[in-house]
Symmetry: C2
């Protein structure tokens, strides 16, 4: 919640400089020709068709060239809409033939969680770079296999942590790094929504878990990108009404505390039964926070320091988070650099999610090691 009296834009001077510094290293030389790499989208669900595919036309380094779906009607509809020739439309049966299509440089896996590992690994084996939605997979063993497959293929692997490309979240990271809040002491982050019944997210064989495997990862990842530290201990409490038919085999809520080497603590919430979307980082000198924090749009940021709460207004970015993410993957693939949110980033979160689940199950704090 915020404080309404004294709001003004704080973007000026050093704050703007911070934002410039925050642009991702793209690995693309300024003088290079503006070649565009081709994306194949695997899985034509709501997120792929409503959020990803419409943005590819705005990319400077990427374009949509192929579609993969198990539903012929979807291939026909979206293939036609995006001008994808029949030669570039794949089913899951002939998916591996992407190997023979040189127009496809990058495969973006937007399938239910439990299918991420298989389709990412097969893409690596087909010699393609891989962008995979989060959570990276449903176990750390799967994540490790994905990393190994990409490495063996000599191709890049990136996880779809789009907040790392979102202007306000990036500004928050830079503000904290600059010392604006002093020494960070507490991160809070809550993410949740009221899950609709009868969807793959509530079906453990497809989702791998409940809210923690979905919206909860935003709270976890925020705690890590805001502190830029790796936690060493976690404790979690689960609360699920098993009489609610939505939660027969996945958890509703799971809240956790994590402890960072600096002494900073984080308290995070994940929910399928109430709406939450925020983070705040509080330090010895003040705080910076966002709400909504990690949605597709409408981000809002506040800071508090020396007794003043102010809303932060940043200029509209040249690229929104979706476009910036798609271009970053393409530019890393071209430039041979590691994406800022690589497979290792996904693996770190997955190890923590496993520790969070274990802590909730065994009802004790769990030590977690470095990657």
């Amino acid at each position: 919640m915020g404080e309404g009296q004294s709001r003004r834009e704080i973007l000026a001077g050093s704050s703007a400089a911070l934002l410039t510094a925050a642009l991702p290293a793209c690995g693309r030389a300024q003088e290079a020709p503006k070649r565009k790499l081709g994306y194949a989208i695997v899985g034509l669900g709501s997120y792929a068709t409503r959020q990803i595919m419409p943005r590819l036309k705005d990319c400077e380094s990427a374009k949509l060239v192929a579609l993969v779906s198990g539903t012929p009607e979807k291939l026909e509809r979206f293939g036609s809409e995006y001008g994808i020739p029949k030669t570039h439309r794949y089913s899951y049966a002939n998916y591996d033939r992407i190997r023979d299509n040189p127009d496809i440089d990058i495969v973006y896996v937007v399938l239910p969680n439990s299918l991420h590992a298989e389709y990412a690994i097969r893409a690596s084996q087909a010699g393609k770079h891989v962008l995979c939605e989060k959570p990276m997979a449903v176990s750390s063993a799967e994540c490790e296999a994905m990393i190994a497959a990409a490495k063996k293929a000599g191709k890049k692997l990136m996880i779809g942590y789009r907040c790392h490309f979102e202007t306000y979240n990036r500004h928050g990271i830079e503000l904290i790094k600059s010392g604006f809040i002093g020494t960070p002491k507490l991160i809070t982050s809550e993410h949740g929504f009221n899950a609709q019944p009868n969807q793959w997210r509530l079906d453990r064989p497809l989702s791998g878990g409940g809210s923690m495997m979905d919206i909860g990862i935003y709270s976890l990842n925020a705690a890590r990108y805001l502190t830029r530290e790796e936690p060493f201990e976690v404790y979690a409490m689960e609360s699920t009404d098993k009489s609610d038919p939505r939660f027969r085999n996945v958890e509703d809520r799971i809240d956790w505390q994590i402890r960072f080497p600096s002494g900073a603590l984080a308290m995070c919430a994940s929910s399928y039964s109430s709406n939450h979307n925020n983070w705040r980082a509080t330090g010895t000198e003040g705080w910076v926070g966002m709400e909504p924090a990690t949605g597709y749009e409408g981000h809002q940021m506040w800071t508090r320091k020396q007794g003043r709460t102010e809303q932060v207004a940043l200029p509209a970015p040249a690229k929104n988070q979706f476009v910036a993410q798609l271009d970053h993957m393409a530019e890393c693939a071209m430039g041979g650099r590691e994406p800022i949110v690589s497979g290792e980033e996904g693996l770190r979160d997955m190890r923590l999610i496993e520790a969070i689940y274990r802590s909730a199950r065994e009802n004790k704090p769990i030590r977690v090691g470095g990657a």
Copy 2:
């Protein structure tokens, strides 16, 4: 943090009715003459002299009649300022002689925490009603002794949980009770400030502990008054920089999770190294939150429901939280009713604080039972 776009007053209709319903039961018949009970203030520190004593003149059922201090200069200065005759000024040496002063009905103990039990019990033994600052004492055993002493004397014992008398906090309780947020699922509450060095709060023999025994109790009590439930399990993480000279023998930060029988969870923070002052209750239908939540003044409240965040503006109350608290104690004493924040309320928090400390020390969740 809040959201600035759509704010308007929501106080109307049912909301106003809720507020009216929220006024404490005073136990005083409407037709009774407006007699004022006499308070003795024990301990003339900053809180007593700046927050409590100036408010007694605004009470309808209470008045200031006596002072107790170990510092003759303070007795002289404040005795003179408030017109308290020398016969009504006491040192700690002759404190027990309050027994012989019929003008004193209520003793308000505003001493460092570790002295609460002794001075409250002696006041009960002197036949006086007792209002004692929070935390009630420094152990649950002390709290039990205080309750027993008041009971034996046939006098009332109340703890200074002033938020229970503050308009916005009361409105929040009523909103939740009315179902405004649906089923409560998560309470978050953070309280903290940057502790100045060299004060009794940082001296364990006087304070009984660090931030948890001071500002942290606001987070804990809020979690309980917002849910109106008693938790059954707690887990806490402490984080204290022992190289900071302020924290040689008390904790800096302690954050905890508690679990309620309904399935609601709470995540609470307590700090002596950063500023925090908020609570939020999120349910299946929306949330209500405050920031600042529990200060002396300047409270702000927001609600969010059906995608709209709105600031709540309540009319100024007839009595502020200090006056309402002082009058409530007096009216309960006159009417023979239990205060809404009795010794039992303080004991419940103290048992939880002991469990929080034990959880942090042993690094495991602790089961807590009913009172």
